[in-house]
């Protein structure tokens, strides 16, 4: 993240690589930062926090952060808490799936149509929280 973008809300997905909902969480973040709230959100590699990158740690400690996890292990949330990140909200793709039982995402590498629809629905929920955080 560039210094000129410090006012943005940082949205971090788990990016789980083994199940479709990890890909959904990742896609939801891209939907937010590239489309739904592109001016006011940004992301950062979760892996940088695991690595202990100092610049990344400063970003998550000095900015409001939202995590989006695919599964109940909540890796994004737990890793952010582990590094004392400024966590203001956390979401789980599995919870949004329960509200959209007609959607059954199956693919991991490239999301199928149901996965993409679920990602958009998840991003819409998070976008509402971003607006709340920013007082919009």
């Amino acid at each position: 993240m560039k210094s000129s973008q410090r006012a943005k809300v940082i949205v971090i997905p788990c990016s789980g690589i083994g199940k479709p909902l990890g890909s959904v969480s990742r896609e939801a973040v891209y939907e937010l930062i590239e489309n739904a709230r592109r001016q006011v959100t940004d992301t950062i590699c979760l892996a940088l926090l695991i690595r202990g990158d100092k610049e990344a740690l400063q970003v998550v400690q000095n900015n409001k952060c939202i995590t989006i996890d695919g599964c109940p292990m909540q890796c994004a949330k737990k890793n952010l808490e582990h590094v004392s990140g400024n966590l203001v909200a956390s979401y789980r793709a599995v919870d949004v799936l329960k509200k959209h039982r007609n959607l059954k995402p199956k693919s991991v590498t490239f999301l199928d149509q149901d996965g993409k629809k679920l990602a958009v629905a998840l991003a819409a929920e998070v976008a509402t929280k971003v607006d709340e955080i920013l007082g919009r």
Binding site: I12, P13, C14, S15, G16, I17, G18, G22, R26, E27, V29, Y30, I33, E34, T43, I44, C45, L46, A47, L48, I50, R51, G52, D53, M73, Q74, C75, A76, K78, N79, H82, V108, T109, F110, L111
Partner: protein
Amino acid sequence: MNSSERKVGIVSCSGEGCVEGTVSRVATRLVLEKYRPSNTVTICLPLFLAGGTEERAFATEHSTITVDGCEKLCAKIGTERHSGKVTSALVVTRLTGKTHQTPCSGRRWSDKDLNLSEKVAKQIAKEVDKILNSGGN
């Protein structure tokens, strides 16, 4: 244990911050699904911290290849810090010689990106074969 039963671990950085992170992720999935499905397993990198002892034992139980998008080497450093020494470490930018340093999902994926992922996947598969042929677990 014969070669079809051996499992090599592959850990991808999955970096959200640059397109090469997406390439490393897709390449890893291609190896798991297409190139060496019988001989490879993966684990989510963040699970080393969020999970338990079983997850942290991954790199000690499997010969492990890390796939990083950039020179930050998050997958390699994270795996070695929390799980165990890796057998091989690949970096996408070393294969391409350049970096985009911008986030990119699979939504705007071009044939060029997919070709690069295939190239990285084949490189990973070669490393898998080297490990299996050397008798690694």
